[in-house]
């Protein structure tokens, strides 16, 4: 028993940690979907851009400046993507906005490729969370322990914001009925902007945690975590924040269990097989709302 735990603990720890990081991205997907019914494909690239911002800023300024500035940069980037690529298409068919988001994603990716010529950059070391700790028999970085805690704290705060503030109430109203809330005098553009900013803020935090563990930053580094977070959001029921978080942890942990049993090559395939499976058998996901036909 002791041997079993000590041999498998590292897999579990890696799973929880990566799950928390997926959750940070998944919330961004799920909130935007809840309000705009849009899958924002550029979100994974905003996550990567946050990592590059950190790499470049940390080269010129101390950490207490580069950390908040990275978050600020990411929030502005998320906001600008919405303003430039989605807002002009507000009344266009939903498919057009989705295609625009794919375009924004590739634009960001290729911009990063152009600026950095695609070479891997080493992510700067953030003290304390990069510290090595020993839990039971497994050695890991502090960030592995910090991630799940920080994820839960941020999610609780977010739920408070949505349930108990004016802007939160507006968000809920817009997600229920876009047109009616506009008629009721809610400034939907402001609500949408705030949603993108919150999503980008969480992506920036997620990227700091993720790249502290996996230190090479390349333009495509965010693509895979982004897609997996998207699957997590669908799995949890797209539009539902607790669903996205739980979905992300499940995907992170199961992915590592699959690696533990030796099927390493299939760990990515699993995630996407899961997506297909869910779309067939429970399209609304774990916590998704059932959409009633309005007569």
């Amino acid at each position: 028993m002791y041997d079993f735990i000590s041999a498998n603990l590292p897999y579990l720890l890696a799973g929880i940690s990566v799950g928390g990081q997926y959750a940070m991205i998944a919330i961004g997907y799920t909130m935007v979907y809840g309000i705009l019914r849009l899958i924002n494909f550029a979100h994974g690239d905003v996550f990567t851009a946050a990592a590059y911002a950190m790499v470049y800023m940390n080269a010129t300024m101390p950490l207490y400046l580069s950390l908040p500035l990275t978050i600020l940069f990411t929030v502005i980037l998320g906001y600008s993507v919405e303003r430039i690529a989605y807002k002009p298409l507000r009344s266009a068919p939903r498919m057009s906005i989705m295609i625009s988001s794919i375009g924004a994603s590739y634009l960001l990716q290729n911009l990063m490729w152009y600026i950095t010529s695609g070479l891997a950059r080493q992510y700067p070391t953030i003290p304390w969370i990069s510290k090595t700790v020993t839990i039971f028999t497994a050695t890991t970085k502090m960030v592995t322990l910090v991630t799940p805690v920080l994820t839960l704290v941020l999610v609780l705060l977010l739920v408070q914001l949505i349930n108990h503030t004016k802007i939160g109430m507006a968000m809920r109203a817009v997600s229920k009925d876009f047109e009616t809330s506009r008629l009721m005098g809610i400034k939907i553009n402001k609500v949408i902007s705030v949603t993108f900013m919150i999503g980008s803020f969480l992506a920036a935090i997620g990227s700091m945690l993720y790249f502290t563990n996996y230190t090479a930053v390349v333009p495509t580094a965010g693509a895979m975590p982004g897609l997996k977070a998207f699957v997590a959001a669908v799995f949890g029921g797209i539009g539902s924040i607790p669903g996205a978080v739980i979905g992300a942890f499940i995907i992170g942990i199961v992915e590592n269990i699959i690696k533990a049993v030796g099927l390493t090559t299939f760990s990515d395939a699993f995630t996407f097989a899961l997506l297909i499976f869910i779309l067939i058998f429970k399209p609304t996901g774990l916590f998704g709302e059932v959409i009633h036909e309005k007569v």
Binding site: P10, N213, T264
Partner: protein, 394 residues
């Protein structure tokens, strides 16, 4: 007024031609087919630096009808076999006489047919997979091959670390990784050892699970001949997870990024390579001093070398590659692709990485590899030994 302007422009345009006519009989173009971006970008840039340095020392080639200026044209194959063919095609259309490169075997295999169809000779510099030259009569190479490298490393694992069980880790679908891991495993099994092999998907960044599998399998050595981008992650994660098993890899890991990642850790990392910076032979020592001085003169070149003046083995090979190409031009006594193709197999050259001659496959006949390991305190490479093929019990 217009006429006057046209006249001036014509004169300006003719100037370079006149300058050329003054000194040179003509121009010969050599193509550089290297990755400047993507997973092998860092290594490709170092290899290209070796070529540029050689061109700096030997900017012309003397043929019987006069001295020709050698011009270099570089394309970026982006480390990716699906983007490589268009880069190769670009070199063909640029009218190059001979091609040098690439770093990484996959992109060479992808481009071989295109060079072949154009009758263009390519000289591989550090692509070690046998498939590069096998069945591609116009592809030559100046480095050793993976079956040799795998055998050398397997013997080293056995002799130095007394290992009986090894764990190999390669990137799924990468010709270089998978090939070298296979040859290592074959040689290691031949020596009576046991091997557990795993592959990770492209773009993977979480190696904790693989490293845990390695520990759980009871391996005494981890062999991970991956690209540098993955290597730095493997090293930092191995250090974070307290892995004490020695790690070994092939020539790609001879890179300053590896030193940076390993600095300050307790890991033992050994790699095999083509050239040792501390080589005291006259040719090699002269190359090292000259190359360092050339790098330090120009911050951009220094940055392309990874920000330090540590001489990578691929730079030395790049230098030799260019010199071999010049030898081929001299022997053919022309810049014509067919003339070069006829004679390149006969070229011999005493390079900084050793004597170069080609066998019937177009592979260099090489019988030694250098083993180096990281010094984690100073962040430099430490020379361990030269492994000759004759030392290996067959």
């Amino acid at each position: 007024m217009k006429k006057c302007l046209a006249l001036i422009l014509t004169v300006v345009m003719l100037l370079p031609v006149m300058a050329l006519a003054e000194n040179y009989a003509g121009e010969i173009v050599i193509g550089i087919y290297e990755p400047a971006s993507g997973t092998s970008g860092a290594g490709g840039k170092q290899e290209a630096l070796g070529i540029y340095y050689a061109n700096y020392l030997a900017p012309t080639v003397e043929l019987s009808d006069g001295v020709y200026k050698v011009k270099l044209v570089e394309v970026d194959n982006q480390s990716s076999p699906d983007k490589a063919p268009s880069a190769a095609q670009q070199l063909v259309s640029e009218g190059v006489s001979i091609v040098l490169g690439s770093y990484g075997s996959g992109v060479c295999i992808a481009a071989a047919d295109i060079f072949d169809a154009a009758g263009l000779v390519a000289i591989g510099i550090s692509c070690t997979n046998p498939q590069v030259t096998l069945g591609n009569p116009l592809y030559y190479r100046i480095c050793y091959l993976d079956p040799f490298q795998g055998t050398v490393l397997a013997n080293y694992a056995k002799d130095e670390f007394n290992a009986t069980k090894a764990y190999t880790l390669a990137e799924l679908g990468n010709d270089y990784d998978v090939g070298l891991a296979y040859y290592f495993a074959e040689a290691f099994k031949g020596l009576g050892g046991e091997v557990k092999g795993e592959e990770f998907p492209k773009g993977n960044s979480d190696f904790t699970a693989y490293l845990t599998s390695a520990v759980n399998s009871g391996a005494e050595i981890i062999f991970a001949p991956t690209s540098v981008e993955y290597a730095t992650q493997i090293i930092t994660q191995a250090a974070a997870n307290g892995i004490t098993i020695p790690i070994m890899a092939g020539d790609t890991w001879d890179n300053v990024r590896i030193l940076e990642a390993a600095e300050g850790t307790d890991l033992s990392i050994s790699v095999s390579t083509f050239f040792d910076e501390g080589d005291t032979g006259a040719l090699a020592a002269e190359f090292v001093t000259g190359f360092k001085a050339w790098l330090n003169e120009n911050p951009e070149k220094l940055a392309n070398n990874g920000g330090s003046d540590i001489v990578a083995a691929v730079s030395a090979l790049g230098y030799d590659g260019y010199m071999v190409a010049l030898e081929a031009l001299k022997r053919a006594d022309s810049g014509d692709r067919d003339d070069i193709a006829d004679v390149v197999a006969e070229v011999t050259y005493e390079g900084v990485t050793g004597f170069i001659a080609f066998d019937e496959n177009g592979d260099a006949i090489r019988d030694q590899a250098f083993i180096i390991k990281t010094d984690n305190e100073t962040g430099t490479w430490q020379f361990v030994k030269v492994q000759n093929v004759s030392d290996i019990a067959k």
